[in-house]
């Protein structure tokens, strides 16, 4: 993949720094050169990169680092922190009007995902027990109104429209009135995509703005946008006074450097992140996680949260106990595999793990869902006794399992070997974690990852 080469280069440099007891100015400079390339490759605006590098260098060469016992770590930490800071530090919330309804205006280029994001935002508000109203203000793109109507129907939020012959300004005004009359506490105005240089359409947006006096003006930006993102944001900002940004299509393999730049240039915080075209509630945006992602450091936090929401806590605790006491059997193995698969396609999970880019490069491992199916078949072909006591599996048993699962004896052998190794590893971990063990299985997972993939 395009980015992984660079991410691993960056990780190498950081790896070198980490091991050093003393970091010279030269080391920092070399690292900064790689950081600069990584940021540029991730589409971070070049002006932002320049300022950023200067800032980090300043701090890294200063006292902070020299006094530390692990200067390399400190440099990495500085980079990460500064990046987070650039994107706004903490997560920012949606504004709320003193007197309802709260009006939210959605704006952006064509194809950024305004209509879909409007739907997702409505769903989020619905989840928080509000009564949102969607206003269909895109009269230009064929079937845009229809799209919003379908979305509205799916999530159960009314859509206000006057067809595509009325001016969007009038639609917005009438829609707002409609919301007031019907006690809607949030109004989301979807607008047509427009180029920031299209004066006529920008004027129209301006009129909608002055008539509806929105509490939030959200710019919807495609996370894959390149260096142009900054111009777009700046231009919209100067004409509309944006209050926030929605970053869409973050489920792609983009590093989303545009995000970083937008906040740095306009000062508008990124409030939401959107993934997928299925109508799920918009997710709040976390600058710290995005920083890790831009640096190719993975997104452990999101992974852990994902795990927490889809894995049965009781089962996980039980599993963890078994792992610690090395009672782990093939039955547990099967169950655990199912749990992991609930999290979603495996390659997506891998992308969230730090250092995975590097691993994939090295071994050329391809995550094959079919392979997992095969493993499942093997385990399911074992008898109950075999699952619980793997050591009883002799050659003739293995042969039977192979026939039963449609694999070869070699496949079965390999799996049993891997399973044994895994058990051994678990024993080691449990002794390392001490008698009390980690608080939760997931925390243990995090610790394990930290050990295995130092970067």
């Amino acid at each position: 993949m395009a980015f992984e080469g660079l991410a691993s280069r960056l990780q190498n440099v950081f790896g070198k720094l980490r091991g050093k007891g003393k970091v010279s100015e030269e080391d920092v400079n070399e690292a900064m050169r790689e950081v600069r390339l990584a940021l540029l490759e991730a589409d971070v605006n070049f002006k932002v990169v320049k300022d950023f590098i200067a800032k980090v260098k300043d701090r890294a060469i200063g006292q902070e680092v020299m006094k530390s016992f692990t200067p390399g770590m400190v440099v990495v930490d500085i980079v990460n922190k500064e990046l987070t800071e650039l994107m706004g530090g903490t997560n920012s919330k949606l504004a709320k009007a003193n007197k309802p309804p709260t009006v939210i205006l959605m704006a952006g280029l064509q194809g950024a995902g305004k209509t879909t994001s409007s739907g997702k935002l409505a769903k989020l508000l619905l989840k928080e027990k509000h009564r949102p109203l969607l206003i269909a203000g895109d009269i230009y793109r064929p079937a845009a109104i229809k799209q919003l109507q379908v979305l509205g129907e799916q999530i159960g939020v009314p859509v206000f429209t006057l067809g595509d012959q009325t001016s969007p300004v009038e639609i917005a005004r009438a829609g707002l009135q409609h919301a007031k009359d019907n006690n809607h506490d949030y109004v989301i105005i979807d607008t047509a995509g427009r180029l920031h240089i299209d004066e006529a359409l920008m004027e129209e947006l301006h009129q909608i703005h002055s008539i509806t006096k929105p509490d939030e003006v959200l710019l919807v930006i495609d996370a894959m946008t390149g260096q142009e993102a900054v111009n777009v944001a700046q231009s919209f900002h100067s004409q509309l006074e944006l209050t926030g940004v929605v970053l869409t299509k973050l489920d792609g393999d983009t590093r989303g450097g545009a995000a970083l730049s937008v906040k740095a240039v306009t000062g508008c915080p990124i409030k939401f992140a959107a993934t997928g075209e299925k109508i799920e509630p918009l997710e709040p945006f976390y600058p710290d996680r995005m920083a890790s992602r831009i640096l190719g450091m993975g997104d452990m936090l999101s992974l852990i949260e994902k795990a927490q929401s889809s894995i049965d806590a009781e089962k996980a605790a039980e599993m963890e106990r078994k792992m610690r006491t090395a009672e782990f059997t093939f039955e547990d193995f099967l169950e655990q595999m199912e749990q992991v698969r609930k999290l979603g396609p495996l390659d997506q999970l891998f992308d969230m793990l730090p250092g995975m880019g590097k691993m994939k490069d090295m071994k050329n491992v391809k995550v094959d869902e079919k392979q997992i199916g095969r493993v499942e078949a093997i385990v399911k072909s074992m008898t109950k006794e075999e699952k619980q006591k793997p050591e009883i599996m002799n050659h003739s048993r293995r042969k039977r399992i192979a026939t039963g699962s449609g694999t070869t004896v070699a496949d079965v052998n390999r799996l049993i070997k891997q399973f044994d190794d895994m058990r051994k590893m678990m024993k080691q971990f449990s002794s390392m974690m001490g008698p009390k063990g980690p608080k939760g299985g997931l925390k243990g997972l995090k610790g394990m990852m930290g050990k295995k993939f130092p970067f």
């Binding site: 980015f3 194809g111 894959m224 396609p345």
Partner: protein, 334 residues
């Protein structure tokens, strides 16, 4: 004859209307990119590290792509040493030539049409790049060339996508083959190919749902569509066009690579080129991928979708430079 002169001659054979569409659509890129380079050269008299760094930033700022820029700068350094260039002004022709070299290619990249019978073109791409709009515009283009066209509504996923294509069908005056929302897109393609065969149309344009290139299940779906088309018409699809949004940054390379692997992309369509100052992605794609740009969207109007012509593109970008080159050459030849 100099390179620029040759270029100018090849341009002059083409219609002025097309030249103007290219020139207008690329205004933003020209001012943001070429003029910045010129400004840099006049401001910085000497070639030193700072000069290279600024040049690097201008190029990267135009989305030319880190790898391409690094190679370009390295080549420039070598050239500067070899020719013992000290003055920035002397570097200008070298730089323009290198840039033009990156953009220029000799193969002409028109759409591949079937030798006989129906031409099937499949459109793929991530969400929101303008696949449906491109199909609408292309249908208009074929129609005005006197060809009969049929559209296949393969985006059964996004709300309103089928209706959007239908509106285009009405505008242009061509039929749309569709099923209801949520249907198997491969089944829609099957219907469409058969309908197209029965009606004996010249061109079948197949829309698909936008998908991110790292979603392997969706990419497999695309592969199925591809197989269905191939089974029904052995030589089809004659073109698989990946639609790219010109404002996309470095992710465009990943898109081109992964879509290329999964759906056998034969060419690219760059949309919204008029809205970006970052036409540089064209250079990155040309340099790093072996895929020709076939069509470019240079504006909102129906006929703003043009076949990509590298001569026109280079000319529109470097028009100012070309004039200067001529002026300086004139006395030599005269």
């Amino acid at each position: 004859m100099s390179f620029f002169k040759r270029l100018k001659e090849s341009i002059s054979q083409k219609t002025e209307a097309v030249t103007n569409i290219f020139k207008e659509g690329l205004t933003k890129t020209r001012t943001a990119f070429v003029e910045k380079v010129e400004e840099l050269i006049t401001r910085r008299k000497k070639i030193d590290e700072a000069f290279y760094e600024e040049l690097e930033e201008i190029l990267i700022g135009a989305d030319v792509g880190v790898n391409t820029v690094m190679t370009l700068i390295d080549e420039l350094r070598v050239e500067v040493k070899k020719r013992k260039i000290e003055d920035a002004a002397e570097l200008q022709p070298v730089l323009s030539e290198k840039l033009v070299g990156l953009l220029k290619s000799d193969e002409q990249s028109g759409l591949r049409m079937a030798d006989s019978g129906m031409t099937v073109i499949l459109f793929v791409g991530v969400n929101g790049v303008g696949k449906t709009t491109t199909i609408g515009k292309l249908a208009h283009k074929f129609k005005s060339e006197g060809k009969s066209v049929l559209l296949a509504a393969g985006d059964t996923f996004r709300a309103g996508a089928i209706e959007q294509l239908e509106v285009w069908g009405q505008r242009v005056g061509v039929d749309v083959i569709k099923q209801e929302s949520g249907a198997d897109p491969a089944a829609v393609m099957y219907d469409a190919v058969n309908a197209a065969k029965n009606r004996g149309v010249d061109v079948l344009l197949c829309d698909t749902a936008g998908r991110l290139q790292n979603k392997s299940n969706l990419m497999d779906e695309l592969n199925k569509i591809f197989r269905v088309l191939q089974r029904e018409v052995p030589s089809a699809p004659h073109e698989v066009l990946l639609v790219l949004d010109a404002t996309t940054g470095q992710n465009a390379l990943s898109q081109a690579k992964l879509f290329g692997e999964k759906s056998g992309v034969t060419g690219l369509v760059l949309t919204k080129l008029d809205g970006t100052a970052k036409g540089g992605i064209v250079i990155a794609i040309r340099n790093e991928l072996n895929l020709p740009v076939k069509l470019v969207g240079l504006g909102e109007k129906m006929n703003d979708l043009q076949e990509f012509d590298s001569d026109q593109f280079v000319h529109a970008l470097f028009a100012g430079l070309i004039q200067k080159a001529e002026e300086s050459e004139a006395p030599l030849e005269g």
